[in-house]
């Protein structure tokens, strides 16, 4: 049981009176990359926002590193080791690139090779050139790298990426994928939401597909790769 870093069971979340998640279950093991898939509006963002405490879970349980975290405040969940790269990037436009990175730097879980400003700049060389620029002045791709760098600077035990490649030029997208490959290589646990199924099959080996707030399918990369009916039916590709 406790081999899983993240373990969600029967998660239900509502916006006001309209329920969006109907019993979502999901696990992510330490050191693995897992995905959360589904067409638009199926509840992926709501799921990760519930994990992060940004939406209140109305039912079910969320277990992280052996602790029940549903009902915790977002900052406590953040300090427990979950970092979100949110939909729409949401970098701080009024902070410089450097400030966006150093403001939240922490190593609360004694990572052996903690991220530092220098390592982030080596990882994303284009950010180093923009170090003194305000976040709001960056291009979309740079903002995305900054959002990832900002999350990494907290040295999270679990990194969650919500549509990190959305709206990016193909070349920039490739750079993000390469970064994710490198992160996986370093043993970072990642939960990723994205639209590019082929890339995700190569990157991850545990996939969960949501359909109207419920888990419609789950399986590994070989199973997902073999069944293109799922792609059409559940992913709309």
């Amino acid at each position: 049981m406790s081999e899983h870093l993240l373990e969600i069971e029967g998660l239900e979340t509502s916006y006001g009176s309209s329920q969006v998640l109907f019993g979502v279950s999901l696990t992510v093991a330490e050191g693995e990359v897992a995905t959360l898939l589904g067409r638009n509006g199926m509840g992926k963002t709501t799921t990760v926002r519930s994990i992060c405490g940004l939406e209140k879970a109305g039912g079910g349980s969320i277990r992280f590193a052996g602790q029940r975290i549903e009902g915790w405040t977002p900052d406590r969940i953040g300090r427990a080791g979950i970092a979100l790269v949110p939909e729409g990037r949401q970098i701080f436009p009024n902070l410089t690139v450097r400030e966006n990175l150093v403001a939240f730097a922490a190593n609360r879980h004694a990572a052996r090779e903690p991220w530092s400003l220098d390592r982030i700049y080596a990882f994303f060389p284009s950010l180093e050139k923009r170090s003194g620029n305000l976040g709001g002045r960056l291009s979309g791709g740079e903002q995305q790298m900054l959002a990832i760098g900002r999350a990494l600077m907290t040295n999270p035990r679990l990194l969650i990426l919500d549509e990190a490649t959305e709206g990016l030029a193909p070349l920039v997208r490739e750079e993000i994928w390469r970064c994710l490959d490198a992160l996986r290589g370093s043993g970072q646990t990642i939960l990723v939401i994205d639209k590019y199924v082929e890339r995700l099959i190569a990157l991850a080996n545990r996939h969960t597909i949501l359909e109207r707030g419920q888990v419609a399918w789950r399986g590994n990369s070989a199973e997902l790769d073999a069944d293109h009916g799922i792609w059409h039916r559940l992913l709309g590709v």
Partner: protein, 304 residues
């Protein structure tokens, strides 16, 4: 003439810097928590009363100012934890109603404790005389206010622009949710910011006490100016609050001093003397309207 302008400019600077002490807290409260706190001016009043009381009792102005800042800060923590926290999630109307009630309560409490008459708060004797600057004499106490105001503005700048706490405050003002998700307890941070802002209010109240009357209702008139300042400067921005304060302080002071004379050159004396003060008192609102016309978000908006 230039001497008058210079002297009034110094007065404007002095007033602007004190206004900044209020506006700094107000803009952060509004910016981070999206909370309209009309009672901010009451903290300024309480600070002035505490300073007057303690200065009288101890015979030391510095002790009076220190105790006023500390006491108002503690009061602010109690206020924030007991009442304001409940208001953050409410809409602006609820906040306005509740904090307006606070103004009335604060005024009544002050009346009960200190009575309705104006209180005396004297500047330290050593600073009662004037000093010579260039060609004219200027009250040394007003110079002290400018010095203290500039010092605090500098300290605040370093705190907000150079420290991690400052980064969290700016981040919280621009995107509270994301700041929390990155591990910062914005609620606690905010209690601290609120208390700090209240202490600055008290400092302004204490410093201005010897110049203006320490009386019930003193918080309301300056509160309106502080709101003009943060709207001009951009909600949530310390830099905006500083620039806005100096603008409002200078325009208001210089306007009141110069406008009647300038009008006299254009109109008959009777018209000028009745139009001048009226026009001067609306000058800062004209300034605000003009700035909002060009920059609807204010000069330095914290949100994108």
């Amino acid at each position: 003439m230039t001497q008058l302008i210079l002297e009034q400019a110094l007065n404007g600077l002095q007033f602007g810097l004190m206004l900044f002490l209020l506006a700094a807290g107000l803009t952060l409260v509004f910016g981070i928590m999206d909370m309209i706190n009309l009672a901010h001016g009451s903290l300024y009043m309480v600070g002035a009363y505490l300073a007057a009381e303690v200065t009288q009792a101890s015979g030391s102005f510095i002790t009076g100012v220190g105790v006023a800042m500390l006491g108002t800060g503690v009061l602010a923590v109690v206020l924030e934890v007991v009442l304001l926290r409940r208001l953050y999630a409410r809409n602006h109307l609820a906040q306005v109603l509740a904090t307006f009630a606070l103004i009335l309560i604060a005024n009544e409490c002050v009346r009960i404790v200190w009575g309705a008459q104006t209180l005396m708060l004297n500047a330290p004797d050593a600073l009662s005389g004037p000093v010579r600057i260039g060609g004219f004499l200027y009250p040394s106490y007003r110079l002290l206010i400018i010095g203290v105001g500039a010092l605090i503005a500098g300290l605040l700048y370093v705190l907000v622009a150079r420290t991690r706490i400052g980064m969290w405050v700016r981040a919280g003002a621009s995107n509270r949710e994301m700041t929390e998700a990155l591990g910062i307890n914005v609620r606690l941070l905010f209690t601290a910011v609120f208390a700090f802002g209240a202490a600055l209010c008290a400092l302004a109240g204490a410093m201005l006490g010897p110049l203006l009357a320490v009386q019930v209702g003193m918080g309301e008139s300056i509160l309106i100016l502080a709101f003009v300042v943060i709207v001009i400067g951009g909600i949530g921005s310390i830099r905006g609050a500083l620039v806005g304060s100096l603008l409002v302080g200078l325009v208001d002071t210089l306007g009141r001093a110069m406008l009647p004379a300038m009008l006299r050159a254009l109109f008959s004396p009777e018209v000028a003397s009745s139009l001048g003060p009226a026009l001067a008192s609306v000058l800062i609102y004209v300034l605000m309207a003009a700035i909002l016309f060009w920059r609807p978000e204010g000069l330095f908006p914290a949100r994108a």
